[in-house]
């Protein structure tokens, strides 16, 4: 059978095409037929997997999937018992689009459909965790199983979350429309939050290397760029894209060969992705062209400061501390305060950092968060207060965290114990 040359499908073509086709179909059919749009795409892919292995891959696989999905939707609508007058119009619209599938205009239409779908999935009336799951499923073509893996949740939980969200869309009649100017700021902010939650879900450390994490990060980056190059563009969108690109650039350096975490300051900078850094800086300069300064701007500025440094010794810590001061004023977030404390160590020393950490100890958000005792432990060790540092790292190990982080804390604990021992030895000698 070697006469059939080995065909190559573009990487992630099905996933991308699932998102585009669901968005395209739903754009024509309206939110009432969201399920039909999903079923049609599923059916098209099912037919592909059942028939393609015995034939050559269609010359334009995207167009094949698109056409089969549209034809399926048409046949379901034709069979539908309650033939409303609208059904005829929908069928005509679907048929027209099937015929223009190789038309260039359709690309722009699909981009707009995708944007409308993003805004619907990120509607503020939906629960925040539902917005993320819904976007990953409908816009990005991730499966329930994949979404569960990304957020370390049970498949059932994610499936139920999606069902509830889709029910809400129907009941509240959330339309697939671009938001009007009055509601735009709120709607756009929700989209940006969802995109960054998606990114963080992929960026979080987990047990073992899972390719899907990087894929989610890059997908979030793609969605950010899609919004940034649309009529919804705003400087804060550019800032978010810059932030994600600069952080994603560090992904290859974040773990060592043994799968252990490498601190930003200790990372091998030659492993950073140059293209993503360039993209990050390109969007960063676009973001500061306007008047607006959002949280995304400040976060991007921090990432940019790290990326500009030639080496870890050359990191401009006073600039980073300045950015964290600003971010803390804007958000009041204890997690920001914790990150700020790390910069305080570098600029003002551990004594001041310990003081900065003190108010965080009783913060409800920080309870059980392993990074607080981890930072505290490092600060105490720097002050030579080894017994307290040991206690802090041990407390960190009590928290819920991923295996690489647990190993990281374990290493810190062992190091501080060794330091304490040699310190004692020196003392007894003296």
């Amino acid at each position: 059978m070697n006469e059939l040359s080995s065909p190559v499908l573009l990487e992630h073509l099905f996933r991308r095409q699932a998102g585009r086709t669901v968005s395209g179909l739903a754009g024509l059919l309206g939110f009432e037929h969201l399920q039909l749009a999903e079923d049609a795409v599923q059916e098209a892919m099912l037919r592909a997997v059942q028939t393609w292995p015995f034939q050559a891959i269609p010359e334009k696989p995207e167009a094949w999937l698109f056409r089969v999905a549209h034809n399926y939707a048409i046949s379901v609508l034709r069979r539908s018992t309650r033939l409303e007058s609208k059904t005829g119009d929908l069928i005509a619209a679907l048929e027209a689009r099937t015929q223009s599938v190789e038309n260039v205009d359709i690309e722009q239409n699909l981009r707009d459909d995708e944007l409308r779908m993003i805004f619907m999935c990120c509607h503020p009336e939906l629960a925040p965790d539902a917005r993320v799951a819904l976007s990953l499923k409908l816009v990005s073509g991730f499966s329930v199983g994949e979404i569960a893996r990304i957020f370390m949740a049970e498949e059932n939980t994610i499936a139920q979350r999606l069902v509830r969200a889709k029910k809400q869309i129907r009941e509240r009649r959330l339309p697939l429309l671009m938001p009007h100017s009055l509601e735009l700021p709120e709607r756009l902010n929700s989209v940006l939050e969802v995109i960054y939650l998606m990114f963080s879900g992929g960026y979080a450390t987990h047990n073992g290397e899972d390719l899907i994490r990087r894929e989610v990060c890059l997908e979030a980056l793609r969605l950010g760029q899609l919004v940034a190059t649309s009529s919804m563009a705003a400087p804060r969108v550019d800032a978010l894209v810059a932030l994600m690109a600069l952080q994603a650039a560090r992904l290859p350096a974040r773990m060592d060969a043994a799968g252990d975490l490498v601190l930003l300051e200790e990372q091998d900078r030659s492993l950073w992705d140059d293209e993503l850094i360039a993209l990050g800086f390109q969007y960063f300069s676009r973001s500061i062209a306007g008047e607006e300064i959002s949280e995304w701007h400040v976060q991007a500025a921090i990432a940019a400061t790290y990326a500009t440094a030639e080496s870890s010794e050359a990191i401009d810590w006073p600039a980073i501390l300045g950015h964290y001061d600003q971010l803390l004023r804007m958000t009041g977030s204890p997690v920001v305060a914790l990150n700020r404390a790390v910069a305080v160590v570098k600029v003002h020393g551990p004594e001041d950092a310990l003081e900065a950490l003190a108010p965080l100890e009783n913060h409800a958000v920080m309870r059980g968060y392993h990074l607080l005792p981890a930072v505290r432990g490092r600060v105490l060790a720097a002050l030579g207060r080894f017994t307290e540092a040991e206690a802090a790292f041990s407390a960190g190990l009590e928290c819920d965290c991923a295996e690489p982080e647990r190993r990281f804390l374990q290493r810190q604990l062992e190091r501080v114990r060794a330091d304490a021992d040699s310190h004692m030895a020196h003392k007894s000698l003296a």
Binding site: M1, N2, L4, S6, P7, L9, H12, L13, F14, R15, Q17, A18, V41, Q42, M45, L46, R47, A48, V49, Q50, T51, W52, P53, F54, Q55, I57, G141, F142, S143, V144, G145, E146
Partner: protein, 113 residues
Amino acid sequence: MPQYMLLLRDDRELFGKLGPEEMQKTIEKYYAWRNKPFVVDGAGLMEKAGRVMQKKNGSVSVTAGPYSESREVMGGYYTIEAASFDEAVKLASDNPHVNFGTIEIREVIHKSA
């Protein structure tokens, strides 16, 4: 070398559990297997029900079907070359279809020269 025919029956429900990325990966696995040197031939069958012909009382009756009573429908076949039945089974077990239905293996009657 003896030839073996692999008859593939599909379980749509099992295929239906795949997400888009897994579907693509599955298609790629089928291709990788099909391009191996021992595969002689193969073809897929349209999914819609065929016709069954049978002579009854002197005339040929044609009925629609078979409507498979099980969920599994014949989806296609491959012909492969293998030194023995055991080897044929071994080669077929690498075909991704084992995850999505059944593969029936039959030795092809050798056309003697």
